[in-house]
């Protein structure tokens, strides 16, 4: 960063630390001396390990965010969430049907939704969480899977839900039901698998395995490139 580093004050779990302006919450905590084990993960917004609750200076609102994606502001008070003790029903995906009955059996709490929209407001991915919960209530698995797709399972929705719903685990179920049962099958894939299982490519692949490097290189640079 620049030679004159500007600093801001962050209250990490209530204690004041001076940290460089522009730091994300993870950067700020490490700058302060925390060697993190929980509350940190991929550091790029894909794993959901670093859910954070914070309050900004002069604001009464408790906000949620990802520590690797949220920049510290002067006077911010924050805490990392180490773990979310959420219920996760056990099921065999092969035994299920992609409909409302499955949702009723495995996630009865879904039907307690009071449509308060707190989950949507809490989502750091800006997913319409309440909308996919409503879709699940209607048994619209496809819409629920689509709306919830970008969920990274940080758990903030479930932590804030007044109806004790574990939205993200229900989202996983919806996505798996859609992927296995409702997404149209690819005929080319099925055909290719039959070919592979019948050993159609074995001989040619074995020839390549044995082929000297120069000859392989020649075939490689001569291959036709046809891109969709």
């Amino acid at each position: 960063m620049s030679e004159e580093q500007k600093m801001v004050k962050a209250f990490i779990m209530g204690e004041a630390y001076d940290v460089p302006e522009g730091s994300t919450i993870i950067m700020a905590m490490e700058y302060a001396g925390f060697q993190m084990k929980r509350g940190v993960g991929c550091r790029e917004g894909f794993c959901g390990a670093c859910a954070t609750v914070y309050r900004e200076k002069g604001d009464y609102k408790l906000k949620g965010g990802l520590a690797c994606q949220t920049v510290v502001t002067d006077g911010m008070t924050l805490a990392q969430i180490p773990f979310v003790p959420a219920e996760k029903p056990i099921y065999d995906i092969k035994e299920l049907t992609p409909d409302i009955d499955t949702i009723k059996t495995l996630f009865p709490t879904i039907f307690r939704c009071v449509a308060c929209n707190t989950c949507t407001k809490a989502c750091p991915q800006e997913i319409k969480v309440m909308d996919y919960v409503q879709a699940l209530k209607r048994g619209d698995i496809g819409r629920a899977a689509d709306l919830s797709f970008d969920c990274i399972r940080c758990g903030l929705c479930a932590l804030r839900c007044p109806s004790e719903i574990v939205q993200y685990n229900a989202a996983t179920l919806a996505q798996r039901l859609y992927g296995r049962y409702l997404n149209k099958k690819s005929p080319e894939l099925e055909e290719r698998i039959v070919e592979v299982e019948n050993g159609k490519y074995e001989k040619e692949l074995d020839e390549l395995v044995e082929m000297p490097r120069e000859e392989q290189s020649k075939r490689y640079y001569a291959r036709e490139i046809k891109l969709k």
């Binding site: 084990k37 991929c42 291959r223 891109l227």
Partner: protein, 557 residues
């Protein structure tokens, strides 16, 4: 948002855009001539970081002694164990299992599921949480030759060409031939692949592919797969037990030289444990957090090559550990996302890399090592990069082309993660290009295995990024996601079969650790240098100096 001086360069990009769009509409992906074999070699020799003078050095201990390895890897391997093994009572294990899987990314979880389905009891140990891995972060896609105009044979050629024809052929054959089966296995588990209206796979090309065979789940492909596998692991409590925040810090052999167990260490309660197993699968991923040559990385916090260290100390040999993959397009602006991945799918969908003046200078879909070296050349030799306010330099990746080529809404629909990433920092990549530079992405090499995933140590298997040989010295986009599944399943099956046959255990021993440490001590390496390092250390020096318990390189617990 970009500062004014960068906007001036963006205006030049905007000026050349209509012509480049026209070119793309006429010639598809072929907007710039692809390099010949000799051009490829020249750009690698002169600009790829692996070819810098001090990038490699001879490793002085272990099976690969005398071979030239990536300097940071050689440094890591020349180290001591975290603890003196004498303290463990190997005859009274804390856990006994058929199959021990180390690491819970997609390879480890695919292995655990497969071994479980095959009837084995599995213990899955991971130093963070289930799914915390590079697998979860993969964006662009997974390759498999399932299209009509494609075949596993063409896929084979692409893999070999990308790897400069040095890959282990039997592993490549397994990879490409199992490809379509792996996709089906994932779909049956419930992975939501992007499809066309008729159910056919929506496929894209990747760097160095001759056909479009990149399957995706938006630009969350790794997560789309990994979270399904994790859910399946949760659903198999009778077959798979898992230990989170448990790092495996050493392997246990028996007097016959078989791998028969491991030492675990719980990061929070700080307890050590002895685990006995009939088969062991290492699926610990790569080494991005070693920050080779000071590069930023796309990798997960836990990517510290732990499995490599313990396997090497136990006598497994490494392949291609002199080679590092730098992904061509890592973010260099804004500072908060330095080194973050900008998926290759951005180029698959038509975005073009252009220099400071808005000019194309390379075929957008060269294999990664070539593309990355060409970016470095453009900045270093030709001085056509764009400087950031903090003195970094980058190339424009002209993302607004994506909607112009594929129709309005394409970025939103197929690259939501990318859009969201930049939006958080007030940059709209539908309107403005992103500034990128090569970033440390992947461990091309690793432990040598056969096509069952087994190493030269009986009972020790490896799957995923920790394997060396599949990709030679350069992996292509989408082949990692595929190898996680193919070799995760293969190693899981064969490890389970080995356990089912019954292993005749000899006396358990950790003599290999003593023997290895003696050789390290002879090099006069200070005792405080230990590995695996478990997690990287980002605490600044002025704080570190006051943390008096911080005794050694790496983590302080």
């Amino acid at each position: 948002m970009y500062p004014d001086y960068m906007m001036k360069s963006i205006q030049m990009v905007e000026k050349t855009r209509p012509k480049r769009l026209e070119l793309a509409k006429k010639q598809g992906k072929q907007v710039f001539p692809a390099m010949s074999e000799s051009e490829r070699q020249a750009v690698l020799d002169n600009f790829h970081p692996d070819f810098k003078k001090d990038a490699r050095r001879e490793v002085r201990v272990g099976v690969n002694k005398g071979e030239s390895l990536t300097t940071e890897v050689a440094d890591l391997l020349e180290s001591y164990s975290r603890v003196d093994p004498v303290i463990f009572d190997l005859n009274n294990p804390d856990h006994e299992t058929d199959v021990l899987v180390i690491g819970a990314g997609s390879a480890g979880m695919a292995a655990a599921i497969t071994a479980g389905i095959n009837g084995s009891n599995v213990l899955l140990a991971t130093k963070l949480r289930l799914g915390d891995s590079n697998s979860m972060m993969a964006q662009g896609g997974i390759q498999a030759a399932d299209q009509k105009d494609d075949s596993p044979v063409l896929h084979y050629l692409d893999v070999m060409g990308g790897g400069h024809f040095e890959n282990k052929p039997d592993l490549v054959k397994a990879l490409v031939n199992d490809g379509p089966i792996a996709i089906k296995w994932l779909e049956e588990l419930g992975v939501m692949f992007d499809k066309n209206e008729d159910g056919s796979m929506m496929v894209k090309p990747g760097g160095g592919t001759c056909r479009s065979r990149m399957h995706s789940t938006r630009d969350y492909t790794g997560a789309g797969i990994c979270r399904v596998l994790r859910d399946e692991v949760y659903n198999m409590p009778d077959k798979i037990k898992y230990l989170e925040f448990t790092s495996i810090i050493e392997l246990i052999l028996d007097e016959k030289g078989q791998a028969v167990g491991a030492i675990g260490y719980h990061l929070e309660t700080k307890q050590y444990m002895v685990i006995k197993a009939s088969s062991i699968i290492i699926a610990t991923g790569g080494f991005g957090r070693l920050h080779v040559r000071g590069f930023e990385t796309t990798n997960h916090y836990g990517a510290t090559a732990d499995g490599l260290v313990i396997a090497y100390r136990a006598g497994a040999n490494l392949m291609f550990m002199d080679s590092v993959q730098y992904h061509p397009t890592g973010a260099v602006f804004p500072e908060q996302i330095l080194g973050f991945l900008c998926t290759e799918k951005i180029r698959s969908m038509g975005a073009q890399p252009v220099n400071h003046d808005g000019d194309l200078f390379v075929y957008p879909l060269e294999p990664r090592d070539i593309e990355a070296a060409a970016f470095i050349r453009e900045c270093a030799e030709r001085g056509k990069g764009v400087k950031t306010p903090t003195g970094k330099v980058g190339i424009w990746l002209d993302s607004p082309l994506i909607d112009l080529i594929n129709g309005e809404g394409a970025t939103q629909k197929y690259l939501p993660a990318m859009l969201r990433q930049y939006k958080r920092f007030d940059i709209d990549v539908i309107k403005y290009p992103m500034l990128v530079y090569p970033t440390l992405h992947y461990q091309n090499g690793g432990v040598e295995v056969d096509d069952k995933g087994e190493t030269k140590i009986p009972g020790l298997y490896v799957a995923g990024e920790a394997v060396g040989g599949i990709h030679g010295r350069n992996r292509l986009m989408g082949n990692s996601q595929l190898d996680l599944i193919v070799f995760g399943r293969r190693s899981g099956y064969w490890a389970s079969e080995r356990a089912k046959k019954g292993v005749q255990f000899g006396k358990l021993t950790m003599q290999h650790v003593y023997d290895y440490e003696k050789k390290v001590a002879k090099l006069k390496i200070p005792r405080k240098k230990i590995a695996p390092i478990i997690l990287p250390d980002y605490i600044p020096d002025h704080v570190k100096i006051k943390q008096k318990t911080t005794e050694y390189f790496g983590t302080l617990f």
